[in-house]
């Protein structure tokens, strides 16, 4: 933690960045984003296992971006998100410095995003055992059982879009649900419309989702919407051989590779 | 049980006039005669017009309350609903809720000069009050209209502009932005604020009504101030996004004001009290 604070102070004091995005103690045993703009504030920085909000969601936020060059404390999912954002031209070395945090809570000073990429590529995107089990269960369901499962899970959704807001990859200035000519997805929340919204979102994250679970963590109604994106990660793996966020901007679905496995055609 | 606030009147499109590219005027009549008899409105008020299946859109009533038996609205195709409206035919039935909002205080203007300043598609909200004033001409002294648009083609109500031009109880000054003129254009060329400055109407015993795009309003207010107009004698209308039209949905809320209830007509003095969120 001291390392982290020291590094943040150094970045601020040397004017290397204008703001360091990290975590602080929040209310009710929660942690939350902290924006360090002067070095005294850096003492509030913390890092522990509760820090699961994906801070990369802030690097595309206009108000944060307009402060100038940013540094971000980044766990593995956050780093993945940063690389994916870089590949989509949303951040670059000129506006972002990554302070990596290892699973052992050690900090890593990255010189540039390429180094972050190299680090990130050491780890595959893997679905954890608990969710793996639920996905298996869903796979084994009949279509009508699965339909019922999702209707039950998604009908409470009141479309507050916290999932979208918390997701680092949902940075579009006009989301498809805000598009009304034509109105692809109904504005009001109803059973079918909710399904359309969440399925569409999962589709838009296919090949891009960094599996940080920010969406599910953000949902005030505790709907396990991350199951949808996790399923997409699985499908991407079995049908296309999987993906890693990459600075080369090779997107899983928009680039053709002769060695793509095309299981879905079978 | 009475109908809910959200029930629209059914209105039949009697006549469609194309005013300018993408701009149309509908003349609307009540499908039910009873509705017609119970309906009354005043200059400055607006309504929610709807195409069933597409939604509602807010704009003013463009006809004068002195002309009975119908209302008119003028809109530009720009969103989902206005596009659907543009696709309607004469004889089609659409929905209308209203009238909502406050009014231009024509009663208070009696015995005064009126200066109307409008730009582009913002003439319709003013057309209502212009005709109201002209139809009760004896109540007012000099009436001046300054109207500008990007180009000659973009001027709306071309027939009425001709009529006002001919009448000797109203002074009409039309202008188009530099480059927007045609070879046979006889009006002014220049932006509205500078034309207002040029013709320099007297502020003495005069109220000014300004409607137009934000940039035009922004530059016209200082000109009026320079000419000696006091803030409480300068009127305009706000165009905030609205949904319900009667102070509930929250969309048009600016400070403590609901534009749909306390507006859309405001004096400049009132606007200065408001947060800059319109």
């Amino acid at each position: 933690m001291d390392d982290l604070r020291k590094r943040a102070k150094e970045l601020i004091d040397t004017s290397a960045v204008k703001v360091v995005i990290g975590y602080e103690q929040g209310t009710g045993n929660k942690t939350r984003a902290l924006f360090v703009e002067n070095s005294e504030v850096a003492d509030k920085l913390i890092f522990d296992s509760r820090c699961v909000q994906n801070l990369a969601a802030y690097v595309t936020k206009q108000e944060v971006k307009s402060k100038g060059k940013m540094a971000i404390t980044a766990t593995l999912p956050v780093m993945r998100a940063i690389i994916q954002l870089a590949s989509e031209f949303q951040v670059n070395d000129d506006n972002l410095i990554v302070i990596g945090i290892t699973p052992e809570s050690k900090i890593i000073d990255f010189k540039n995003l390429e180094e972050v990429e190299t680090y990130v590529h050491q780890f595959q995107i893997e679905i954890d055992a608990r969710n793996r089990e639920i996905l298996d269960k869903l796979d084994k369901m009949t279509p009508s059982e699965r339909w019922k499962f999702w209707i039950d899970e998604l009908s409470p959704c009141f479309k507050c879009y916290a999932c979208r807001a918390a997701c680092p990859m949902c940075y579009c200035s006009r989301c498809t649900v805000d598009f009304n000519r034509p109105q692809w997805i109904p504005v009001s929340s109803n059973e079918l419309g909710n399904l359309e919204w969440h399925f569409m979102r999962a589709m838009h994250l296919t090949g891009r989702c960094v599996d940080c679970d920010a969406c599910a963590n953000a949902c005030p109604l505790a709907i396990p919407i991350n199951l949808l994106t996790k399923k997409m990660i699985e499908d991407a793996k079995s049908d296309f051989g999987g993906y890693q966020p990459s600075l080369k901007g090779e997107n899983l679905l928009s680039t053709f590779k002769p060695d793509d496995k095309e299981n879905f055609i079978q | 049980m009475i109908d809910s606030l959200y029930m629209p009147y059914l209105m039949r499109i009697e006549k469609i006039t194309c005013e300018a590219p993408g701009v149309k005027t509908f003349m609307l009549k009540f499908v039910n005669e009873e509705d017609q008899n119970n309906f009354a409105f005043k200059a400055g008020q607006f309504g929610e017009y709807s195409v069933f299946g597409e939604g509602e859109s807010t704009f003013c009533i463009a006809s004068s309350p002195t002309r009975k038996g119908y209302i008119e609205c003028t809109f530009r195709q720009s969103g989902k609903v206005t596009n659907a409206l543009a696709g309607c035919e004469e004889g089609s039935v659409i929905g209308f809720r209203g009238p909502y909002g406050n009014i231009f205080p024509l009663d208070e203007w009696k015995g005064k000069n009126i200066l109307f300043i409008a730009g582009g598609i913002a003439l319709p909200p003013m057309r209502c009050v212009i005709w109201n004033a002209l139809d009760t001409r004896e109540n007012f002294k000099d009436i001046t209209i300054v109207y500008g648009a990007k180009s000659v083609n973009d001027l709306v109500y071309k027939n009425e502009l001709k009529e006002w031009e001919i009448r000797d109880d109203v002074r009409l000054v039309t202008t188009v932005d530099p480059g927007g003129e045609t070879p046979d254009w006889k009006g002014e060329v220049g932006f509205v604020p500078s034309i207002v400055e040029k013709i320099a109407p007297s502020a003495e015993n005069t109220v000014a009504v300004v409607c137009g795009p934000p940039v035009m309003i922004k530059f016209t207010f200082p000109v009026l101030a320079k000419l000696g107009f006091r803030d409480e004698n300068v009127f305009t209308t706000l165009e905030n996004r609205m949904k319900c039209g009667f102070g509930k949905c929250g969309h048009c809320n600016v400070g403590k004001v609901y534009v749909c209830k306390d507006g859309p007509v405001f004096t400049q003095a009132q606007l200065k009290e408001l947060p800059d969120e319109y």
């Binding site: 006009r174 598009f179 997107n251 | 696709g87 035919e89």
Partner: protein, 666 residues
Amino acid sequence: MAKIGVFICHCGENISATVDCAKVAEVVGKYDGVAISLDYKYMCSDPGQNLIKKAIVEKGLTGVVVASCSPRMHEPTFRKACAEAGLNPYMCEMANLREHCSWVHEKGEATTQKAIDLVRTIVEKVKHNQSLDAIKVPVTKTALVIGGGIAGIQASLDIANSGHKVILIEKDPSIGGHMSQLSETFPTLDCSQCILTPRMVEVAQHPNITLYTYAELESIDGFIGNFKVKIRKKAKSIDEKICTGCGLCTTKCPNKKNPSEFNEGLGNRTAIYVPFPQAVPNKPVIDKALCTYYTKGKCKICEKFCPAHAIRFDQEDEIIEVPVGAIVLATGFAVKKTDFFPEYGYGRHPDIITGLQFERLASASGPTLGEIRRPSDGKIPETIVFVACAGSRDEAKGIPYCSKICCMYTAKHAMLYQHKVHGGKSYVFYMDIRAGGKMYDEFVRRAIEEDGVNYIRGRVSRVYEKNGKLIVKGADTLLGAMPVEIEADMVVLATAGVANEGAEELAQKLHVSYDPYHFFAEAHPKLKPVETNTAGIFLAGACQAPRDIPESVAMASGAAAKVAGLFSQDELTREPLIAVVNRQAPPVFSSCVGCFLCMSACPYHAIEKEEIKNRQGEVLKTVAKVNPGLCQGCGTCVAFCRTKSIDIQGYTHEEVYSEVMALLND
């Protein structure tokens, strides 16, 4: 305020036999926004078209739906008719009642109902259609021809003679290509250089042709009519303007023992050299890789002797950028060398040579002045074996295709040998004789029957040296695969013709597709043989597949005709059915967020980045922009755009959505 006219065509009996056209017209006539609905026997006929035109004028139609055959056939017909009546042609759409309904269903109510549904969806689409204008793209009337072989020369001359400017670039110091290396040409046996050299000179002197030799394509940008190419002019280390081409330098250069490319290694050249005496331009270049000054820092003898003081050791590569409207690719081919063949000793034996080397031996300007002599000891071979299909048609060698020219030149080689070495014995091992061409088969027959060349149908399994002789082991398949063994003095391999090294890289640079063997791919194997999949880039000669001279020349003239056709207009007119990224008023500018997923998905490289700047020049937003010259309207980008910021004109989200909803909601 839609006023749609619906015109139902019977297509003779094609539609009306199974669909009740009158009923379709009647039912559709009652739909919202349909102002007129008619059926007629042949809508595409003049009276049929006049019905549409009349309705447009009289009813003031805002849109037209013609329900008839596939739009492939008659969409242009009806759109033209609409335009003639004053309606924007893109407000006219077709419902395909023939292929989609009447031809595939039995007569019955359901079929008529389906026809009604098909028409209704298109009516809904047309209600949402926007007027579109054809896209006009200005044309730069200069062509770039890449490659100065016979194909490139012919294409350049044809384009230049049709009155347009041509820039011809050639990577070697001289134009001429492979044809300049040949001795005589089949089937007429006229001298290759004699017929080529005048053409080469004509290129050099043509006022419409700018020739850059020793130059390569660096990069390309833009699209049909508007390419921007960068050309790298490699440093020749001489000032061409001053050099008189006297050749003194080449005689003084002490660095003499370099294998001559022109002579296929059968002769030597100096480091400063002119590839061959008839070279165009006939001025030397210094081969930096070989020159003693460049490699060791000392020498400069050529500079000392040059009477014109034209040597420039400090010369550097020059990049020139030129706008061109069309590109002809004529980069030619290469042949496999003998080291490709383990069964023939990996090219280690000097008397096993390629066909191209034999050309040099047989050429009067060659290292032996036209006498057939063995490279090893200069003896005249008494027995010579020609092996056709060396590598070609051999899946195991990765060259399953036929190299096409080998049968003919092998016959020619054997014939030349017989003419020059009286009493010599020649054998040709062949798989099949492919002599499809004017006077070709006669030519082969002449070699066999008049000149006594021994043709053996069979393959050569091995060639090895024994007692100063080359033992050629093979089989005669016409004699029941009887083993054949010939003691030869010399073996000539008709090695396979392959794509040039670097062809793949060049194709990628140009966004031209290529086949598995790296030959450039034509746009259509039958109907577009000289076009590529990239509009404005054409093919000529052996870069597309192995070609002989007449074919290369014909293809070059074909490509030149395409270029001339393109250049005959000042502007290109294209269908406006292309992708467009939305633009909005500030502060939004566009709903595009600049993720550029579309860019990676676009198969035509039509997506560009556009920076939106304020008055101070600061970049406010970077958004995608579709280059209308490159976009083919395929719609891939639309599918990938999460923010729905891209629409295909003529197939916008609203248009297609309204079609689908019309089908779902009734």
